[in-house]
């Protein structure tokens, strides 16, 4: 995802002189390094200083540029939170905040590097748009949209490098603010976003093994949420499952439950989120997700499916 973002940004940046990158002491990967070489003035490194990264991005946007503020996800939102809120959201400026390693991607680095509530926090901010692609193809489509949009600030939550392609079977293209079906099935619908989509597909295969056809839907735009599309899912399916790599408070699960109540949905609805806890576990991304109960095996077990 990170590399596809970089390749796409480089290509767009060559054509649009308004596009700039403001980073806070993160080594530019792949094509961003190439962008820096070719356009040194449009690449700013503020050093270990995230408040000025966001503040500068705001000022640059006010004067007609289209900056992307880019660093590790936790440091894009948590340290400079008030700058994100006041400078970007309150002034409603078209700045893209690129959070690398959303969720528990940096699985061995401890909770200081875990953006485990980033989506909840970003969704709570007025004017903020929140996008979490699930694979490199969605990352590319989202990056293209971010580079052209004039709506306001965006939190673009990326994983890292090497995610598998999961959207090859999608019947509709990526569209901002619209959910899309990545896998067909009529009995169960699994809603997910971000890198944990991989586990969502594994759970869908468990359903299949148990004789139930499971659809998988990418809710890549968390804000504005596609309420109509989700209400349709809640109407159409007897069982809906949410799997997300985010704290339980304020993420997709809570919003889907609220929507189910508002629309008097009759489906069975089960949500799987990160725990509301800092878990002191160091291992692979999959291993720490499993500690939170988010391995495909643990999810299937709780759903009463054999694996």
């Amino acid at each position: 995802m990170r590399n596809r973002f970089a390749d796409t940004f480089y290509e767009l940046g060559k054509a649009d002189p308004r596009l700039c990158v403001v980073v806070a002491d993160i080594s530019p990967a792949g094509s961003i390094a190439k962008f820096r070489q070719e356009f040194p003035d449009r690449f700013v490194n503020t050093g270990v200083a995230e408040q000025i990264m966001i503040g500068m991005a705001a000022g640059m946007a006010q004067r007609g540029l289209r900056p992307f503020a880019y660093t590790i996800a936790t440091f894009t939102l948590y340290r400079p939170f008030e700058m994100v809120r006041d400078d970007l959201c309150y002034q409603n400026l078209p700045v893209t905040i690129v959070g690398i390693g959303g969720g528990l991607t940096y699985s061995t680095l401890g909770a200081t590097h875990h953006a485990q509530e980033d989506v909840s926090i970003a969704c709570s901010l007025p004017n903020m748009n929140v996008i979490a692609p699930c694979d490199p193809a969605e990352a590319e489509a989202a990056t293209r949209w971010c580079a052209r949009q004039e709506l306001g600030p965006v939190y673009l939550r990326l994983g890292k490098a090497g995610e598998p392609v999961l959207t090859g079977e999608a019947t509709t293209p990526w569209e901002f603010g619209r959910i899309r079906k990545l896998r067909q099935g009529a009995d169960v619908c699994i809603l997910s976003y971000g890198p944990i989509m991989k586990q969502a597909f594994e759970v869908a295969r468990c359903f299949e093994a148990a004789g139930q056809a499971a659809a998988v839907v990418s809710v890549h735009t968390l804000k504005p949420l596609d309420r109509e599309g989700l209400a349709q899912v809640l109407r159409d399916y007897p069982q809906v499952i949410v799997i997300e790599e985010c704290a339980p408070n304020g993420g997709l699960s809570m919003q889907v439950k609220a929507l189910a109540w508002e629309t008097q949905a009759r489906c069975k609805l089960v949500a799987f989120t990160l725990q509301d806890a800092f878990i002191h576990c160091y291992g692979s991304h999959d291993e720490i997700l499993a500690e939170h109960g988010l391995s495909a095996g643990k999810i299937c077990h709780r759903l009463g499916l054999g694996q």
Partner: protein
């Protein structure tokens, strides 16, 4: 395209004093409409803001060519009355200050005419100004960014992040003005925060050109900017008196936020007339 009016090469100090007296009286007038108003913080940066608008900023066909950013958002009354005088804001706008049918609040809102950024929370303005100044460099314009900060804002770490970055980027199109009135909300900063000083040397150590002037002397402020070396950003440390111009307000913390009652209002007007 009309070329922006050239930077003035002189500053009429007597006219500036007349303007500032008028601004302070106008702010006192507005203070009678509402129970609370940041009078004293506006009075401490009256001459600074006047010197920027009437000495330094260029305008073309009534539109600002340069940018003014009130980082100490609670000082916005002085900006509002100047914008009213310039015709950017209307008398009705100021009459409806802090009213539900108006558009002016106690802190500036971005996209209000003449307002370059939403401020109010301290320590945001210089970072935004740094981004604005850098954008103008990238666009290869000659636009200047003028940013007024309170001395208290220099206790925010974010301000020093901006100080470092603006100097790194050699933003000679950025001029910051520190309204050095020595008052925080709680106490005199020189009493409570001795390590805050010296100020000019600190700014210089961060790579800025820095000078200290009497912040109620518009001509001194103007000269400090027009005579700068122009290789780095410039900060003008302006020694000021909080509540300047009205004796009972000067250096008395309660006037950070209070509006004068009728008697106090009359006394204030009298003092400003006699000045």
């Amino acid at each position: 395209m009309v070329k922006p009016q050239a930077l003035r090469n002189s500053f009429d100090a007597a006219a500036a004093r007349r303007r500032c007296r008028h601004y302070r009286r106008r702010i006192l007038d507005i203070s009678q409409q509402v129970t609370a108003l940041h009078v004293a913080p506006a009075f401490s940066c009256t001459e600074i803001t006047d010197a920027i608008y009437h000495g330094l900023m260029r305008r073309e066909q009534g539109v600002d060519h340069d940018v003014f950013l009130m980082s100490k958002g609670h000082g916005c009354m002085i900006q509002y009355v100047i914008l009213e005088e310039l015709g950017v804001l209307s008398r009705e706008d100021l009459d409806r200050y802090c009213q539900p049918d108006g558009r002016l609040g106690a802190h500036p809102d971005y996209e209000t005419p003449g307002v370059a950024a939403s401020t109010g929370s301290l320590g945001h303005g210089l970072g935004i100004a740094t981004g604005q100044a850098y954008a103008e460099k990238l666009k290869k314009t000659d636009v200047m960014i003028y940013c007024v900060l309170s001395d208290g804002e220099f206790q925010e770490g974010s301000t020093w992040e901006a100080m470092m970055m603006a100097a790194n980027l050699k933003l000679d199109n950025l001029v910051a003005f520190m309204d050095y009135n020595d008052f925080g909300g709680l106490e005199r900063m020189s009493d409570g925060h001795k390590a805050f000083y010296p100020l000019v040397e600190k700014a210089q150590a961060f790579g800025w050109e820095a000078v200290e002037v009497d912040g109620h002397d518009g001509e001194a402020i103007f000269n400090a900017v027009t005579s700068r070396k122009r290789a780095t950003p410039l900060i003008v440390v302006c020694r000021t008196v909080k509540g300047k111009g009205v004796s009972y307000m000067e250096n008395v913390p309660i006037w950070h936020y209070r509006s004068p009652n009728k008697d106090e209002y009359q006394q204030g007007l009298k003092e400003l007339a006699a000045e």
